[in-house]
Subunit: 138 residues, 2 copies
Amino acid sequence: MREALKQARIAYQEDEVPVGAVIVWQDRILSRACNYTEKLKDATAHAEMQAITAASQGLGGKYLNDCTLYVTLEPCPMCAGALYWAQIGRIVYGASDPKRGYMRIGPALLHPKTQVTEGVLAEECAALLKKFFQEKRK
Amino acid sequence: MREALKQARIAYQEDEVPVGAVIVWQDRILSRACNYTEKLKDATAHAEMQAITAASQGLGGKYLNDCTLYVTLEPCPMCAGALYWAQIGRIVYGASDPKRGYMRIGPALLHPKTQVTEGVLAEECAALLKKFFQEKRK
């Protein structure tokens, strides 16, 4: 999650909503990504989506069953849907997102085999987001 | 929808699940795409996702409020989530997808302002999918 936070800080510096993601396979980082929806002018360019695409390229296949995604914010329904298709083995997320997170819709968005751990470094992940949105409101 | 069907046929020829999508803005086709999850080895490479990314590049912004997506199959939750973020104006789809379509989860996946029309050329869209899966089972 420390690596995912580093990615979130990159997003913050680029004036993007600061979310970072890392995908790990056998103790190896397959992909690192941060939210780039503004820079790429693409609503689909969430950190998780880019991390999934890059990890799939690294593994040479579209399934990520043996991989863990570390992401600083609870994934949204789009990302949860992508993680469903990729059949990700495990998701570890930091801050919760009661407004836009996938749990607003429900756990059925994820693949039934995917394990989920929430709240890892949650305060640190949430603090960066809070700082970003407070500055935006100034 | 005829253009989206052309895209679906390209996917079929490439041995991909035959789904095609087109995004239109002011009577102009902004993007055409077909499902390439196998070719790109990327679970996120649905026709709709690629069409959204390409249309956003064409318009120079991540919102597609004034655009219509034509897609041969009911979007899945991932694509519905992406269409939410893009705030697409209208979705027109062909065949329904009771197993993997977004309506299995519910209409809350879409942006409240998005209009939806279903069943356009549904039989033709569904026939291509049926043919593909029948051949796969042989």
